[in-house]
Structures are given as structure tokens and as C-alpha cells.
Symmetry: C2
Amino acid sequence: MQSYTEENYLKIIYHLSVISNPVQTNAIAERIQTKAASVTDMLKKLADKALVDYTKYQGVNLTQKGKLAAINIVRRHRLWEVFLVEKLNFKWDEVHDVAEELEHIKSNLLVERLNEFLDFPKVDPHGDPIPDKDGNFESLGFVKINQLKDNESGTIMGVSEHSTAFLKHLEKLGLILGKTIKLIEISAFDSSAELLVDQQYINISKELAKHILIKKLV
Amino acid sequence: MQSYTEENYLKIIYHLSVISNPVQTNAIAERIQTKAASVTDMLKKLADKALVDYTKYQGVNLTQKGKLAAINIVRRHRLWEVFLVEKLNFKWDEVHDVAEELEHIKSNLLVERLNEFLDFPKVDPHGDPIPDKDGNFESLGFVKINQLKDNESGTIMGVSEHSTAFLKHLEKLGLILGKTIKLIEISAFDSSAELLVDQQYINISKELAKHILIKKLV
DNA sequence: TTTATAATTTAGACAAATCTAAAAATTAAA
DNA sequence: TTTAATTTTTAGATTTGTCTAAATTATAAA
Ligand SMILES: [Mn+2]
Ligand SMILES: [Mn+2]
Ligand SMILES: [Mn+2]
Ligand SMILES: [Mn+2]
């Protein structure tokens, strides 16, 4: 079994390894709000436990064992987020911090019963896929708004940023999961995106656009 | 805010102070599965935080502040137990350990929403009262089976022991919450109790009887 | 290819919570 | 009321996770 802290490291390494491989010490330090020296210490410990492959100065990769452990934490995090939104009426921008704590509760029975109680959800409130017990989940293959071509339409399926500020802002613009949008054009000046949403034209920054995941209409 | 560990100490001290006042170092050590020396260290820390009144060699009492904190943890513990039984179909002997972890999740919003979701329960699955937000709850004034007089009847309202072995045993005997029983007599030989339950006569040990809480029939 | 910059690791220290062994205080027994 | 037993506290160490400052290694620039 891993400690609360070890679990957090594993999860962060997992998320970062989607972006870069291997994962660098500083990247972890920044995400986990700690110093690089602390990260190094922990990487050695995780390597001792065979949860990561670690080579000095070269960064880390999760081992199969580490990856499974990480995905399991992600599974619990996302199931709890569904619970908070669906059952306790949390808003999608209120769930993350609480889920950060709930994800560490150690009880397989609890997770399986929760999954059943929630009727086996496939995605969390931010559109992220929920892995099954064995760590498998479909990669959903969405594209970001700023990757659409002019005049392409699609449905908002998820977000790649979980901060309250971001999520509240999205909601205010009516850009919630399930909404269909059409990209009119990307500005040549500031890369902002002009969208058609609910028969209205709105303009959103690239910062915003790049965190909104779209399923293209066929 | 208190740490996970501090919260556990506060809760144990609270439960023990019902039995004896002040609470002794060894009693805490036994309950918390640690050594007396560790308890002494923690008592000093809790005293520094004004959560307990502590005099060397004399034991501790909770301060008002400490008592409120303790009751709040008890409140969360019992609400989560209700959730596990009512919503996730846990049995009453399966909930305690998970609730021990869940009670430490820090979010007032979570607790209040959970309370609402559970429809403001007054007692937990073991019949223990759930304090309100301000720490108030009715003392329910139940008596233990071995305190009944011969031929007195009553309803099982709770238990004062939470171990799986105890609860499973009770259930096998049909002694669940809400059941009405009649005490026929206490044996002069071994203090065991003869009961009438469901038109059947059964005999239970004093060990069992003293942990079953009864509301007398008027 | 040397030099400068950035990233990473070591060394040494610290706080929280725990432990063992020994000392001190309290309580019970003689 | 002195002695013995019990309870509690101190002293000193250990583990986990963290930190700062200094030393290494790797990478980018000249
Ligand atoms: Mn989240
Ligand atoms: Mn999420
Ligand atoms: Mn319990
Ligand atoms: Mn209970």
C-alpha cells in the first residue's frame, strides 16, 4: 500500500506523463507545490517500491505497477466527483478539492459500491473518462476548440483544466458539457476564437479555447 | 485546524470522558493503539492548542473548544455511517473502519450536503445520536439489557460496541435495532440474560447484554 | 568546444508522530 | 508511614516528508 503522499506523486506523474515522457523533477515539483529536492527524495522511494523507473537527471516513468496504482487513484477521484455533483448538488467547479481528499480513502468495497450507486458512470463532471476496476478506459479522441478548422462544428465533451476560475467563467459563457458550438474563425491577431453558440456569436481567448474538448460533428 | 492524528486523539478523549473524568494517559494509549509515551507528547501539544486541560500525572479534560471539535468529528463519523448503510448497502458491521477515514475529510459544505442528502438522520446505524452542526444532541436515556428488571420489556435502540464480531453475532440472534424484547431473568449463576424475542426464548451472556441499549416500554 | 544557464541531486536540518528504556510521581499495600 | 506496584513522564532515537543551500550534471549559447 502507498501513503497519502505517495499516491499524490503517482497521480501527478501519471497526468504529466501524458504530456512528456519521461517526467521531469521540476514539473512534478510545480504541480505538487513542493521543492525539487523533495521530489528527488520521493522519486527514490517510489523507485525502491518499483512504482517508477528512475534514472538520475533523466526523470521518471511509471512502471506497470505504478501506472495501475495511479489510474486507480484517478478512478476514485472521478467517481467521487460524480457523486458530489449528481448526489450532493455540488457545482462542477466545487468538487475538485474535496475529491482530492476522498480519492485516498482505502476501501475497494467502498469504490465498487459507489460505482454501482452512481450507475456505473463513464465520465466525470468535467468529461474525463472513468477507468474501470482494471484500469481500462476508452481514449475519447476529442480535439480542442483551437484545433478545429473554420466553420467546423462539434459538441463540448470535456475540459482540460479544473480551476474554479476557469470553470465558473465557462459556465457564465454558457459553454457547458453537451452544448454544440461552431468555430467561425481563429483571429490572426491574438488567436482568439469566434464561436457560434445558441445562435449567438461570442469571442473567447486562446487560453480558454485550448482547454475545451470537442467531439466533431460528422 | 487539527491534523488527522489530533482529531483522532480528540475523539477518543471525548468518548473516554463519558466513562471517567479526567481521562487517563493509559486509557487513551490503549484505545488509540499506541504507547503511553506517545500519548503524553500529544497531550502536551493539544494543551498548547487549548483543546484540552492537562495537568501532569492527572490526566486530561477537553476544553469547550476541544469538545466542540470532538463532537464535530463524531457527527461526521455517524453521518458517513448512515450514508454507507442507507445508500451503499453496507452492513452495520462493515461501516466503522471506512467511517474512521471519511470522518477526517475537511469540508463543511460536504457535511451539510451529506446531511441533507440523508434527510437529516437523528441516529446512526448503531443507534448512536448524530449531533447537529452546533454540537447539540439529545441524550437518549436508554438502559442496557442487564439493567432491566425481570419481566420488563423494551425496544432495542442501539449498541455500545462496534466490533464486527459483536455486531455479526447480534444479527445472527435476531437482535437488531427496533426489535422488541422482554427480559425474563438474569441468571444468578453467570449473570447471563434470558430473553423473549420473536416468541422465542434465548439466553445471552452478560458481555453481550451490557452492550445492548433498550428503550423501556411504558 | 568552451562557457554560461538551467535542471537536478546531495548534504544537512527540521517538524510531526512514533518508539524503547529509564526516571519520576502517584497510588496501593504492608 | 514506609515500601512496593502502577502509572506517567522524560530522554534520546527513528520514520516520513519537507526545506535551504551548496554541489553536480545536463543543456543551450557563444
Ligand atoms: Mn478533479
Ligand atoms: Mn474531474
Ligand atoms: Mn463507528
Ligand atoms: Mn456508529
